[in-house]
């Protein structure tokens, strides 16, 4: 994702009118689902909403510097925020889906997906720092804070002339791992909820046995989970407007907007994707 960004339009603060409309949309989505399938479909929809909100939350932790980071002009990972989070979250989805199909246990599958996302980010962030320190001779320095909240390292004197900082300070590293963890958790949660809905509903709809329908349910849930992930990650990227250093960045204060936005988006998209199994 090339960061050929123009000026970011997003300001600070929360638009309460928009939030109110959003909550109404969530309630309508839950109501329609209840009308079609009582609690059996409402609980998966709630899971999808929580999963979407988790993705929106997790993306904000991932330290992404975009094009300036590739020149050592700004801290963070030199790629696009939505796609880096998607790379981590979907690597997690692979682990979570595998664990769910092997054990069938909800909790270990969801956590397995989260750990998969966290591990992908842990390795990637480590390799980023190795490149900065050993190949470019650049120490890590944040541009947004003077002191690392975890290690206590001070940054201003380690920041080279004419830049906003570079590399990944430890707080950004932790942010990356936590972001991958939460994004993986959200993605796997959405996948498993969709899979449960489809593996229960498709055999009835298609008048076939559950085993025969299993590959179809897995594929449909997988494709739509990727779709959900991208919708939520891109909405969060719009909220971040390009680059963020991690949980210590002032932009992180915008996170409630993304959580609400992703929850609303997931609610309505979840409604449509659950209605696929309802025969009209």
């Amino acid at each position: 994702m090339s960061a050929l960004g123009g000026k970011a339009a997003g300001g600070e603060g929360i638009n309460w009118q928009g939030v109110a409309v959003g909550i109404v949309i969530i309630i309508i989505a839950l109501g329609i689902t209840f009308a079609f399938g009582s609690e059996g479909l409402v609980i998966p929809l709630l899971g999808i909403i929580i999963g979407g909100a988790l993705i929106g939350f997790g993306v904000h932790f991932v330290p992404v510097g975009g094009a300036p980071a590739a020149m050592g002009q700004a801290p963070g990972i030199a790629t696009g925020v939505a796609m880096l989070a998607a790379g981590a979250g979907l690597a997690g989805l692979f682990g979570g889906a595998w664990a769910f199909s092997a054990t069938g246990d909800f909790l270990t599958a969801v956590l397995g997906g989260a750990v998969g996302g966290g591990m992908m980010m842990a390795i990637t962030c480590l390799m980023v720092n190795l490149t900065y320190v050993f190949a470019m001779g650049v120490p890590a320095a944040s541009g947004k804070v003077d002191k690392d909240p975890i290690t206590g390292y001070s940054f201003p004197e380690y920041k080279s002339q004419g830049t906003e900082g570079h590399g990944l300070p430890f707080i950004s590293y932790v942010g990356g791992v936590v972001g991958g963890f939460i994004a993986g958790l959200g993605g796997t949660l959405i996948y498993i909820e969709l899979l449960l809905v489809y593996s229960a509903g498709l055999p009835v709809l298609l008048e076939a046995s559950a085993e025969a329908v299993a590959p179809l349910a897995v594929s449909l849930a997988g494709i739509l989970a990727i779709g959900f992930f991208l919708i939520n990650a891109v909405l969060s990227a719009y909220n971040i407007t390009g680059t963020i250093e991690g949980p210590h960045d002032p932009k992180f204060k915008r996170v409630p907007r993304a959580i609400i936005g992703c929850a609303v988006a997931s609610a309505f998209c979840g409604l449509i994707s659950i209605l696929i199994i309802v025969a009209f």
Binding site: M1, S2, G6, A9, L206, P215, Y238, G261
Partner: protein, 295 residues
């Protein structure tokens, strides 16, 4: 320091492009219904043409949206459009003959809601956001519908989830026992959705939607060149879909689709190169760097 996103103004009005794109796309997707009427699969390639018409329209929408500056890259708009389009398209395929219409309505509603969220909850405040997201979601749904119809031979839900040829009566003749007739069950795992070919269509379409404007942005961007590139990447995606359709429809129909897409791709590609040559400052072959001012 980053590059400002610049786009040309003028040219064909956006609403005209939208009308052409929408009508051609829907008509072409409906033309795949000729397969059912004639009991063949020769007309599958019309789905691909419909998808290209939608992509052609969508690349102009992306240009309008992204000239406002989203704060993140142009490709993100393609991804979110197809995320919505995938959900709307799978839902719509259950409505048999009304599928394209339902896909447009559902994708439009979801797109408008996502646009509203981006504007009012995420505070982007971009004037064209709601309309653009609405259009992009419809483009996503129609593109996926068109390519899926091309792959499977029709856009019905049952055709997309059950592989062709499954459920046929398999006769096994064993002399000692006489004739045993066995009925094979439906093969869900070998279908367009069950085999996850829809995921390939998803990413092919998302790339084709964002690429034309992303590749052509700059101070000398011109509409006809961007739209020609949209048609070019559309036909290029159609080639890949045509190759994959060999697994679902008969060889003759898939070959027809492949030949149509190759011919279309060749024509649009040469046209695009010619237009690039027209717009380029100079067209040099193996020449050294020519510094500004001709030094």
């Amino acid at each position: 320091m980053t590059v400002k996103i610049e786009a040309s103004s003028g040219g064909m009005p956006h609403n005209t492009i939208m009308m052409y794109g929408l009508i051609v796309s829907v008509v072409c997707i409906y033309l795949t219904y000729l397969n059912q009427l004639t009991d063949t699969q020769w007309f599958a390639f019309f789905g691909g043409i419909g998808a290209i018409a939608a992509l052609w329209w969508g690349s102009d929408t992306i240009k309008h949206l992204c000239s406002y500056g989203l704060g993140t890259g142009v490709p993100s708009a393609g991804m979110i459009a197809f995320g919505i389009g995938a959900i709307a398209m799978v839902f719509a395929t259950k409505f048999d003959i009304a599928t394209p219409i339902v896909a447009i309505i559902i994708a439009g509603i979801i797109g408008a809601i996502i646009g509203y969220i981006a504007n009012s909850i995420v505070n982007m405040n971009i004037p064209v956001m709601v309309m653009s997201m609405c259009e992009l979601a419809i483009v996503g749904a129609l593109t996926m519908l068109g390519f899926s119809a091309m792959c499977a031979g029709s856009f019905g839900f049952n055709n997309l989830v059950v592989a062709a040829g499954s459920g046929e009566v398999i006769m096994a003749i064993i002399p000692e026992l006489g004739v045993i007739v066995q009925s094979g069950g439906p093969l869900f795992g070998a279908s367009v959705i069950g085999g996850s070919v829809l995921a390939v269509i998803f990413i092919l379409g998302a790339m084709a939607l964002q690429h034309p404007f992303n590749a052509c942005l700059g101070p000398n961007e011109s509409q006809d060149r961007t739209l020609m590139l949209a048609a070019e990447v559309g036909f290029l995606s159609m080639i890949a879909v045509a190759v994959m359709s060999y697994a679902f429809i008969d060889g003759l129909s898939a070959t027809i689709a492949l030949v149509v897409s190759l011919l279309g791709w060749y024509y649009t590609f040469t046209q695009y190169v010619a237009l690039s040559k027209r717009d380029a400052f100079m067209w040099l072959d193996a020449k050294p760097i020519r510094e500004v001012g001709g030094k």
